[in-house]
Amino acid sequence: MQENERQLVDALADMREEEALAAARALLDGGVAPLRVLELCRAGMEIVGKRFEQGEYFLPELILGGEMLEAIGALAKPLLASAPGGPAKTHGRVLIGTVQGDLHDIGKNIVTFMLDVNGFEVKDLGIDVPAATFVAAIREFQPAVVGLSGFLTLAFDAMRDTVGAIEAAGLREGRRIMIGGGQVDEAVRAHARADAFGGNAMAAVALCREWMGA
């Protein structure tokens, strides 16, 4: 990695937003391939993810990391049209969403972010997602893992209903379901009949790694 490339990775990893954007702009202006710049961003985000795992970074750092990534993506992507290459290989697919009736998305967004930087292909259905929408999305996206998120206590039943709908549609077989959110624990997992629960984003990554052999 060249010195100017290293600058971008370090600035991203160290939460120096202005420097990161300036470094990315300089690389693109200097003719570096936009895909290369996005690769460097991924390298920077991997460091952010590791620091989060190690308890050095917290939610605000992930949010700022996401913002920087988005801003650099907006600079690089218009230049991508003619560039060679395709999407990065992934460890597998994860479908995620906050269950019906619940509008909370912070936990879900962190899990999505962490799965993404760890090489999983994640499709995020958003918040207040009806069971039928999960079922339709499973048919279309064919994920190996489905993640159900919820913060409110009403989510316990909504998770159970979603798991039931997935089963009724014959889509549970060969697929794992994990749940997470502020109140979720083993009792809620049993209530919802999910395969596992996670108390934080790293737990979700560990589960997906285990299940997909990544």
């Binding site: 605000p60 750092e61 009792a187």
Partner: protein, 415 residues
């Protein structure tokens, strides 16, 4: 005074005293149990959550039934009686039963950016003017016309009189008209709440509710910047955020002392949203969260009020940093933080409250609840300074037999 009434008043006094003594870290005859919930009482009484918010009589009956069943040492009267007020206001910061959410689904705050970052300066220079003319019109329909309100501090001499034209404009007049109606609903709800408290006092149940306050960071996050905006401010607008925290602490404290005293209890509830483990680094917590919150706590304590801080989520890593407040003057209610550990770290400083797990109250058995309460009472209740409650009050979906097991445990087990 009849014999039964004197018994009720004796029970009232004993319960009230038991709570106050626990706050002062004194041992009492047994551990007290406080009943607080959002909509469990409604569910138990067979009314919808929407009815709890809109039908004052049914709502009061439901809560009374819950108190007679559980016989708690204190109760927190539901704030969720303000349905008509919120409707008249056309309030946009949350959705509530039947109004954005299902009639039997709890309310939800809408976490959005209501004040853009570039408005910090305007807010800091003149928070009242900013609120009136910019912020409030964004967050409720009834406030929209306030955008036309005159900028009073800028007026003098004949401009002063001329500016009163604003009150002749249809938008402002319509808003003021709507606010008169909002005020009537709010006043009626408050009167009914006071009447309910008197009735319950006569039945022997003291209120453990009272005033309401926030951590300054949470106020900025919940009501102004949104959680994402506020987290980005930790990096992008540090100085402005710190300045706002300082200012907001003063603003939040205005009126709380008088309001709380008028209610007749010393308790000031402070739900804490964004300072928990994982939501910010220890450095951010020490800089942006705790100093502002501590200022609020100390000021309330100076006025002989009892802050009841609900530390939501897991706050284990904060325990060592939140003990520098006067001894025996506040309640820390922990949701997921291990209370045995909290007792070891903070037991000599604050009264602890909590924390029968939400999932256990909903999906567990009465035996599990009983065992958990026994553990809390014997380990955390030892020596005083403990109030038994749910992890985050009694969840709406809790099984009645589980809540009963919790209520009865304080009579079964000695600290």
């Amino acid at each position: 005074m009849g014999a039964s009434e004197s018994t009720a008043s004796a029970r009232y006094e004993a319960r009230r005293r038991r709570l106050l003594d626990q706050v002062a870290l004194k041992e009492t005859d047994r551990t007290p149990f406080v009943f607080a919930t959002r909509f469990w009482a409604a569910r138990h009484a067979g009314i919808t959550f929407e009815q709890q918010m809109y039908d004052a009589e049914k709502s009061a009956d439901a809560l009374e039934r819950a108190l007679l069943l559980l016989e708690p040492d204190g109760y927190v009267q539901s704030l969720y009686i303000y349905g008509p007020t919120l409707s008249a206001l056309d309030y946009r910061l949350m959705q509530w039963p039947g109004h954005g959410t299902d009639p039997n689904a709890t309310f939800q705050y809408l976490d959005r950016e209501y004040m853009p970052a570039q408005d910090y300066d305007a807010y800091l220079f003149d928070p009242t003017g900013y609120c009136l003319r910019h912020y409030l019109p964004r967050v409720a329909g009834a406030f929209e016309g306030l955008a036309r309100m005159p900028d009073f501090p800028s007026l003098s001499e004949w401009r002063f009189v001329g500016a009163l034209r604003a009150f002749g404009k249809p938008e402002l007049r319509a808003s003021l008209q709507r606010l008169l109606e909002v005020g009537e609903h709010a006043e009626a709800a408050a009167q009914r709440a006071a009447a309910f408290a008197r009735k319950m006092a006569a039945l022997g149940f003291p209120s453990a509710g009272g005033g309401f306050c926030k951590a300054p960071y949470d106020h900025i996050s919940d009501f102004l910047r949104g959680s994402k905006g506020c987290m980005l401010d930790l990096f992008r607008n540090k100085d402005k955020l710190l300045e706002a925290i300082d200012k907001v602490a003063e603003l939040l404290l205005r009126g709380v002392v008088e309001e709380t005293r008028a209610g007749g209890t010393p308790y000031v509830f402070i739900p804490l949203h964004w300072g928990l483990d994982g939501f910010m680094s220890p450095q951010h917590f020490q800089t942006f969260y705790w100093p502002g919150l501590r200022k609020v706590l100390l000021r309330l304590i100076e006025h002989e009020l009892v802050p009841v801080a609900l530390w939501e989520g897991d706050c284990t890593s904060r325990l060592e940093h939140i003990g520098d407040i006067p001894r025996g003057k506040a309640v820390y209610w922990f949701e997921k933080t291990d209370l045995v550990r909290a007792k070891a770290v903070l037991g000599d400083t604050v009264c602890l409250r909590g924390n029968v797990p939400t999932s256990m109250l909903i999906a567990g058995t009465p035996q599990e609840v009983d065992e958990y309460c026994r553990m809390l009472i014997t380990k955390v209740g030892k020596g005083g300074g403990f109030i038994l409650d749910g992890a985050a009050s009694i969840p709406d979906e809790a099984r009645t037999e589980n809540v009963l097991a919790m209520a009865r445990s304080v009579h079964k087990y000695a600290p």
